[in-house]
């Protein structure tokens, strides 16, 4: 139930709504921004929203596996950032820019 009156107890629904808002902000930012570094930060926002959902459900369902999955998400995020920033550095060497608009070789 979505009830946004001032509560005396924070249920999992509040965390899920917060995670949904955070995910949406990240997705909109990914669509709006053209700086590849900021786009990567928006991906981090979306990954964090997913992590928050996992932890909230682990708490609500009293199930430890939700927290274990967060570890794997963290590993994937770390690997993604390492490889992604290396790609950004390689692109910057070729084009002297980090804007996604400058990487348009496949545009035809």
């Amino acid at each position: 139930m979505i009830a946004l009156a001032y509560p005396d107890h924070i249920t999992a629904t509040y965390y899920l709504i917060l995670a949904a808002i955070l995910f949406t902000i990240g997705a909109v930012g990914l669509l709006v921004r053209k700086n590849t570094l900021v786009m990567f930060m928006c991906i981090e926002l979306m990954l964090n929203a997913a992590n928050l959902t996992f932890v909230s459900y682990a708490n609500a369902l009293n199930d430890i596996s939700g927290q274990v999955i967060v570890f794997f998400t963290l590993v994937v995020a770390a690997a993604e950032v390492a490889v992604g920033l290396a790609i950004i550095i390689a692109i910057f060497r070729r084009r002297q820019s980090v804007s996604a608009d400058d990487v348009d070789l496949l545009k035809g």
Binding site: L18, L31, V32, L37, S56, I64, V81
Partner: protein, 203 residues
């Protein structure tokens, strides 16, 4: 008290997220990202996930944000961007799509049903006063041990891949335009009837 902590942290999360996508300077975006990540760590603490909160601080708020800041300053892009970042139509369309997606997720949240307090086969949360590190470790090294091993493989691949991508040496990694134009040198020496086989030409 619980509600106060939640709403303060939720406000910080949303302000940080909006600051990430609104900041004109990438350094500011990275610092707003830090605000979001630390606030989410507090929300983890509130949900009996102490170890996850600690790792959020150590890995996300420290390592990943520092890596972002390092790359931003390394590339020298820590300056103001032009304000015409996106096309106005594109921006409006993105916001409309975002609102639609948010509505969809909220409908899903509204419709969910769960049974609380019934631990699954993986085991309960282990809400001891000292945290649930032991429960978490037991699950990680028994039920999820195969995935845990695979993360090691993934990290090795990521390390090797980032080194290969980011290193400067090697003739394949460099742009052809950075070299001396190939056509100048062979034309004087090689007979015109015999094209230089295997010679790379600038694209």
């Amino acid at each position: 008290m619980e509600a106060v902590v939640f709403f303060v942290c939720a406000a910080a999360v949303i302000i940080g997220a909006l600051g990430v996508i609104a900041g004109r300077n990438p350094v500011h975006s990275a610092l707003f990202l830090l605000l979001t990540l630390v606030s989410i760590a507090v929300l983890y603490l509130q949900q009996h996930a102490a170890l996850v909160a600690a790792i959020q601080i150590v890995v996300y708020a420290s390592a990943i944000v520092v890596l972002f800041l390092f790359v931003i300053t390394l590339l020298g892009v820590d300056k103001q961007e032009a304000p015409d970042d996106a096309h106005p139509v594109q921006r409006v369309a993105a916001v409309v799509l975002g609102v639609l997606a948010l509505t969809g997720i909220l409908v899903l949240v509204h419709g969910n049903r769960w049974v609380t307090g019934s631990p699954s086969a993986r085991g309960g949360l282990g809400r001891a006063e000292t945290g649930n590190v032991e429960t978490l470790a037991k699950s990680l090294f028994t039920d999820f041990v195969w995935a845990f091993e695979m993360t090691a493989v993934l990290l090795v691949i990521a390390v090797v891949g980032s080194v290969v991508l980011a290193r400067r040496s090697g003739h394949r990694a460099e742009a052809p335009v950075a070299e001396v134009p190939v056509a100048e040198v062979p034309v004087a020496e090689v007979p015109a009837a015999e094209p230089a086989a295997g010679e790379r030409t600038p694209a």
